[in-house]
Symmetry: C3
Subunit: 365 residues, 3 copies
Amino acid sequence: MFVKNAWYNAGWDYMVTQGKTSLVARQLAGERVVLYRKPNGELVAMEDRCPHRQAALSLGAKEGDSIRCMYHGMKFGADGHCTEIPGQAQIPARACVRVHPVVERDNWIWVWMGDADKADPALIPFAVGYSDPAWRMKTSQMHVKANYRLEIANLADLSHLAWVHQKSLGGSDAETRARYTTIKPTITTGPRAIRTEYVIRAVPAPQFLRHLFPAEARFDLSFDITHTIPCTWVLHFKAFVADGASEGVPSGALVADTYTCQAVVPNDTDSVEYYFSWGSRADLEFPGLSDLLREVLDVAFLEDAHVLEAQHVRMREKPDHPMVAILHDAGPSRMLRLLDSLLAEEGGSKHAAADARATAEQAVV
Amino acid sequence: MFVKNAWYNAGWDYMVTQGKTSLVARQLAGERVVLYRKPNGELVAMEDRCPHRQAALSLGAKEGDSIRCMYHGMKFGADGHCTEIPGQAQIPARACVRVHPVVERDNWIWVWMGDADKADPALIPFAVGYSDPAWRMKTSQMHVKANYRLEIANLADLSHLAWVHQKSLGGSDAETRARYTTIKPTITTGPRAIRTEYVIRAVPAPQFLRHLFPAEARFDLSFDITHTIPCTWVLHFKAFVADGASEGVPSGALVADTYTCQAVVPNDTDSVEYYFSWGSRADLEFPGLSDLLREVLDVAFLEDAHVLEAQHVRMREKPDHPMVAILHDAGPSRMLRLLDSLLAEEGGSKHAAADARATAEQAVV
Amino acid sequence: MFVKNAWYNAGWDYMVTQGKTSLVARQLAGERVVLYRKPNGELVAMEDRCPHRQAALSLGAKEGDSIRCMYHGMKFGADGHCTEIPGQAQIPARACVRVHPVVERDNWIWVWMGDADKADPALIPFAVGYSDPAWRMKTSQMHVKANYRLEIANLADLSHLAWVHQKSLGGSDAETRARYTTIKPTITTGPRAIRTEYVIRAVPAPQFLRHLFPAEARFDLSFDITHTIPCTWVLHFKAFVADGASEGVPSGALVADTYTCQAVVPNDTDSVEYYFSWGSRADLEFPGLSDLLREVLDVAFLEDAHVLEAQHVRMREKPDHPMVAILHDAGPSRMLRLLDSLLAEEGGSKHAAADARATAEQAVV
């Protein structure tokens, strides 16, 4: 039910420190992973499960480049091979922990959960890190008790901004709502990602910025979203003074230029860890702006969590309940089809089949 | 495992207000239901599940007589038909939410969970509402983590008052106990209800009233109980000064005349919501009396919950444990047989069969 | 998955009092048991489940030697036979509760969970009680959310002291660690117990005592452990001033002479109740010493619980994950084989088979 050959986000680089006991436990796509940092700064990602008796390595100890299980003292190199079994000279070849390819990029940690020889860093999604001097990215995190497919569907169609987020990200006026629900985007589909571009014209500022402008101010809002499997979502968002045109590239003054980078990570089939950032281009920042952007995501994703957790409960109660497709399912269906094609490619398990069935309904528009 | 063609209690009328966001979520017989009030005051009861993707309608918004799902903005009339899908002109016929017949009566809300064309308000049990000027009914509520069949059995045999409720509703003296455990009631069985009438003679006042009378005072207590499927229980309780007779209608002075109305509602197979009231006839009320009656039910039902929740855990652990029948099972068996006959009528599911097996043991006395 | 024909520990004798409502509920090897004390002081252990409708007898009442279910008032003698059903003259022969043999010894309560006629008190493990005047035993208790087999494995190999307990029971210096992980014990295997004896020579004092001695002090530590099925663990621990010899009976001055008695009791397959004591020989006690011993067990068993609970979660996630055997599994494998041979003897249920499979891997060294 999870694509294995993919990079899974394991949070921000600052979460794994050089601290003596900094062994960070994660659940990624249903698997236990422990992360630690070698003295030279490089990360190691390993199954969080001692091959002896399944003790948690994340309760162990770091020793140089190695990790020691603190139950019986077995020591493992950064390559996962056991190098010491206290009280025992011979080390069985099987005494080995699975090591995952891990890459730090844009201040994010990426772990490959599939075949190591297929781990291509070129597949890591583009993002803007908090340490990029050209931007003022602010970071945050949330735990949501819902299947990650519900998050994918949520992020793949922004018409819900008009409803779920009318008091935060969206607009509560009929004018803005109409714009959000009648978007005609340009869509580019790649093997693992879908890019969606559109401009919403002549709308009031979004709720969270509206108090900063005169009531009559109108803006052209430009969206450029890349949504990557399993679920990384990066938006380049710009606001221009409305130019009066109804199409083409906005030509009004640039009021805001921002990036938000979001990674939804399935812990298991019932919850996700959500790492996200938002920030202004450095030269357009003014005090408090990027912090405001981060804050509004905290508010908005609680609004989403409220909806998605109730939806998850109901989906679990009635997995076979008939569902009605609507036009706004186009985006979600596109992403879920992409996910299901990768799942099928990896072996067509019964889970993939079940997932495909669920998606089939979403695909019918 | 639940009778569908029945009225299920959804609480007191005051729980669903004209408030802008008063969308009340219930679980009735395993189904999610949202209740709201139209501007004209009429109630609507609808499946709490958007037909699009199972979002909770109870997290939505009221708009006149309609309800709007606040995930993607789909709007549904009070008849359950979708009237608007933002961003889409055509509305599929399947875009429809199940609407349940709902009736307010005696300050209680009743929802019909089966075929709408079988919803006969004449099947709603008799009760006395808190707004009835002839009585001083006080209301309360409790959540109990037990299967509703255990509650049915509990209410269908009052001999347990002598044990579970010896410090509250019952009597702790041997004299009272003997009376409670040797009742010979008059029983009238209807298609969906059983009426049980009896008089207990020459007993001290019940525990909760005893301090109001001289120690030597003796009373004749008259009980008239109607227990309706699935589990509404209404008792007309009167106390007379003992007349010294051993049978016939009590002829002593009437000391108390009260009604208690109780609805046990299965949320699912593991818990119930319990709505109850008790009050004195208005012309016999004195300050604090009806509040005392309500208070003693709060105490007594906690005593029951303690017993029933432990029993529920044990029943779940050993569903096939042999059980011994006793004479006092006559009442519970009668009610559970009535329930099972209705379950069988509705289609003889495997659940009904399993339920019938459980009841069979209770029926053998 | 549990040996039935065995004595299970139900805690300390002081836990079941002569109090009017002292009805103590336990879960022993998956079964509900209620304990109470007759007026003459003798204990009764009975299934905590009324034969009528599975109400909890532990919510009942004591009456002389009998117990009364406080749901419908059924009364049971100390032999489990029903002697009264209120409102009913005839008592069915089946109205009977299972009674378990129960013995108090060394201040511990032991309940036999199998065939009563096989209950041989000679099978109760040796222990030192807190009321033994020759010792100063102090008692404590802990709840751990792990399968009891993990506790057996934990107690059957003390090499983990060097890792899990390096700051409490073990030693954090390389010298001590090396000693703890290269022990060559004398092992004696009985039908239900394994005795393990060894001496660790010329080590610093254990962590929890080290501050009481000069840094250069070295000790010979003598261990004599009896581990009994299902999981009682008794250690006679002595410390001598190091005599410089490398083998034989330590001949230095006796610094400490202590017993620790520990019973791990499976509630069900997912948790255990742990009752333990530690204390000094009375004539070697000084103020605070035995309290220190008890305190260090509280600390150490929290360290174990942390490890075992994480291990339990992982074992549940991947019951078929391959596991690598090491030399230190010798002790655990020996104990688990003994357990499995008793399980197989009792009937070779599928659980026993599954348990045996799990142990087989542990047995391969």
